[in-house]
């Protein structure tokens, strides 16, 4: 087990390096002089010198990558073209907000998805199964920005119960754990949760239904297990695959919230990305993608480890 953990940790290194390299190359893939591409139009000579120091454009590419990477590791991701402020703190705050939204959506979507998926699988081919499966399909196929707008119309405009804009009163960017702020989380989190919930529901249903058809389930009944006991076995067998789907969906929550963040003016990484793309703010783009990508890599690692802890066939085989 420890050996597996170690080898899995080590295997992350090349992935992380590769991802960093792609982020780094973003600047060089963009047409034109990279230095011009990443500098404000009205850059001062001082700013230009700083850029040169950060990227080392006069040096060979591998050396430039090394310099950039070591800066990035220390939290220095360069300066925004649009605002001239350092990218690091801005990305940190935005990614933090995105994580918050993703976490809230996870807390809503995954438990419900698993619960109803399990029910549908266990009660398959009954009315309950049909209702749950139909709801899941509806959830997955509803465009979420549309759903977001509908929710805003209902709950913020028709009945002004919940705010629809920003992450706090007066559009403040700093998050505080109080009701005033949490109210802002409700509508975007629900909107964001619907698709992953539907996907998790359908996957769990299929998994449970498959597992119930396996011989060992009959053998469990044959040795006198009660329904609860059998369901515990089914859950444990379903867990590794369910976890990997949840991991993928978490990734989707981190990266796929651009539209939702735009609809709700949520100051997250999706919002930051869309602004950065519109303004051709390459350093900002680079920094945001790098941080998000590192989250993906970490997430995958955690899912792998959790899976191997549940299913002995993964680590021991």
């Amino acid at each position: 087990m420890l050996g597996y953990l170690f080898s899995r940790l080590v295997s992350v290194i090349p992935v992380a390096l590769g991802v960093s390299l792609i982020c780094f190359l973003l600047v060089h893939i963009a047409p034109g002089d990279p230095l011009v591409a990443i500098m404000p139009i009205d850059a001062t000579a001082e700013q230009e010198a700083e850029m040169r120091a950060v990227y080392g454009f006069d040096k060979p590419l591998p050396v430039q990558f090394g310099i950039w990477l070591s800066n990035a590791v220390q939290g220095d991701l360069g300066r925004s073209i649009a605002t001239g402020r350092p990218v690091g703190p801005e990305v940190t705050r935005a990614v933090g907000n995105t994580l918050l939204l993703a976490a809230a959506a996870s807390v809503i979507g995954f438990p419900l998805g698993i619960f109803f998926g399990f029910m549908a699988g266990y009660l398959r081919d009954t009315v309950w199964d049909r209702i749950i499966t139909a709801s899941a399909i509806a959830g997955v196929s509803t465009p979420n920005y549309w759903l977001g707008m509908v929710l805003v119309i209902i709950f913020s405009i028709t009945w002004p119960l919940l705010p629809s804009m920003g992450a706090g009163p007066g559009g403040s960017g700093a998050w505080v754990w109080d009701w005033q702020h949490m109210r802002h989380l409700v509508l975007p989190a629900i909107t964001l949760a619907v698709v992953p919930m539907g996907i998790v529901m359908r996957t769990t249903r299929a998994l449970v239904s498959d597992i119930l058809d396996q011989d060992f389930v009959q053998a469990l009944y044959a040795k006198g297990m009660t329904r609860t006991g059998v369901l515990r076995h089914v859950a444990r067998n379903a867990a590794p695959t369910a976890l990997s789907v949840i991991g993928l969906q978490l990734g989707y929550l981190l990266g796929g919230s651009i539209l939702i963040e735009t609809v709700f003016n949520w100051p997250g990484s999706g919002y930051l990305l869309s602004v950065a793309i519109l303004q051709r703010d390459l350093p900002m783009l680079q920094g945001t993608i790098l941080v998000l990508a590192m989250f993906f890599v970490t997430l995958n690692l955690l899912v792998d480890i959790a899976q191997s802890m549940i299913d002995p066939r993964i680590s021991r085989a």
Binding site: D215, F216, Q218, A222, K223, G224, R236
Partner: protein
Amino acid sequence: MTALVEIEDLTVRFSGERTVHAINGVSLSVAKGEVLALLGESGSGKSVTLKSIMQLLPGRRTQIGGRIRFDGRDVLALKGRALADFRGRDVAMIFQDPSLALDPVYSIGTQIAETVIRHEGVSRVAARSRALDMLKRVRIPSAERRLDNYPHEMSGGMRQRAMIALALACGPRLLLADEPTTALDATVQMQVLLLLRELQQEMDMSVIFVTHDIGVAVEIADRVAVMYAGTIVETGTISQIIKDPRHPYTKGLLAANLHGAVKGSRLDAIPGAPPTLEEPPTSCPFAPRCPSALPVCREARPPLVNRGPGRAVACVLEQEPAI
């Protein structure tokens, strides 16, 4: 000998996309400490008979008729908790493919201990030490280490031994064995059969052993019931069946086995195929394949006629008074 299990006129019908009359009036009894082999081709209803005893058939699609008594109790009337208590404690089952019948994500020790805890309410430690005892009894080498093994870490023969250990952990009085050696290679098969026979005698347990291999039945069984199309066509002691088969189907099986070694032969050498059982048989179900078929065979189903204690045959040729 008193009967431990008595099956009377069992019928099982599956509905669904296709109706299958899988069991059509099976009557059987197994005495205490007796090993009965259920012999028959694929699809003859052997597994369904076993699963009926445990009520393991899919409830919504299955209509069961007749009676099954275990030690005087009406098994088919058991429900809920009482049924769960009965399963695994009074009657246990082992399966053809232990790699499918064991839960892949729990260790062998845990799976055995779980059964013991379920039925005897003992502590984890006590259950685990029972699991260890059982692994030793089925002669799994270095049993301590094997307790923490997962099914995929064991060989086929080892897994089947573990499955046997699991089934016998709570000292059942009846063991249902559904072709437990078919998936194993010949030498391992023999070892597992000997082990089963030995444990059966030690524990004075009754066994219903399903097989389509006459050689296996000879090794393990006291008595044989030959099944065809969801009916019993002949019963007798193993030596009666081997030396003096009466039903043309049994004769066919034996003839097919005479060429070549008896052991390991399959029962597929009779020309033709068994009926599909969309309707319950109204004539001798074997008639289309029977070399001695008479017109009267197609008129009604020949009843199972007693030909001495424990000996019965369902064939018109046997309906004359015994000579």
